[in-house]
Symmetry: D3
Amino acid sequence: MPIVQISLVQGRTPERKEQLIKKVTDAIVEALQIPKERVHIVLNEVTKENIGRGGVPLSKLDS
Amino acid sequence: MPIVQISLVQGRTPERKEQLIKKVTDAIVEALQIPKERVHIVLNEVTKENIGRGGVPLSKLDS
Amino acid sequence: MPIVQISLVQGRTPERKEQLIKKVTDAIVEALQIPKERVHIVLNEVTKENIGRGGVPLSKLDS
Amino acid sequence: MPIVQISLVQGRTPERKEQLIKKVTDAIVEALQIPKERVHIVLNEVTKENIGRGGVPLSKLDS
Amino acid sequence: MPIVQISLVQGRTPERKEQLIKKVTDAIVEALQIPKERVHIVLNEVTKENIGRGGVPLSKLDS
Amino acid sequence: MPIVQISLVQGRTPERKEQLIKKVTDAIVEALQIPKERVHIVLNEVTKENIGRGGVPLSKLDS
């Protein structure tokens, strides 16, 4: 603990996701004053078709 | 908020998932009396192999 | 399945939450054409202090 | 209910995942004294690139 | 990893929940052949009012 | 999107949680290059009794 789940739109590069994991871990370590080994993160990549905002899939909102 | 996550068996058509997002959003708007822009939905499609019911994967229950 | 988790701001009445469960279930039944007994919903009530939007807790945004 | 979600590293065989579903269901039935039909499990398989531990993706930790 | 979340009806004793954590961990260790220190479990206790089955809160189904 | 859920041990002060929300949001904005208004965070505070590590509740590990 803490355990972090981040749902985000699919398609970021491995480098970008690595940055995300690094920066979010650092933020938690700083805010909660805990060793970074205790921070677990799971990225949940979701297609735009499977995300709804205001009743409409993101795949439709962007087009 | 609200944030809705729906885990469902993989394989519905995009049209069916679009209907799901639309109807669930409308239901929440009506029940909670909030603007529909505030409703976020994430669909989590799962293979039958990865769903267990009564100790058995759905992929085995259907065959 | 499907399994639905809805995170919402704490404090709705039992009647309002009962309506939410009923209407969301009906919406899923209609969209996916499945028996309503298969729809499982979990409401996750969250205090405004524990919800962040744009980097700020909802408890601060409303005041 | 209960509803169980297990996030695990992607790549186990179907047989291994079937064993996981069976054994976890049995464990819950024994601990909570409930009929096994009430236990729902969802496996969430995640790539090593999408799992962070101590600020680093598992895909980097293993290499 | 693995990370396990179990949503269950509120109200089990601490002893019962301790048994649940122990038995589910053992089941995962046996099925996946991993060291038990790697198994993280979070119990999510939910009131019957906040659980829906077939469109009705559990608090109504039991009475 | 993105939607972030952070499960953490119950009992941080409101100020600490506000810092957590702020810093994690900033980290995501920087890593993904998105407007901060799009970042939604939900904190899930869990008692030590309801967290298992290595088969034992945290409430037992600390004593």
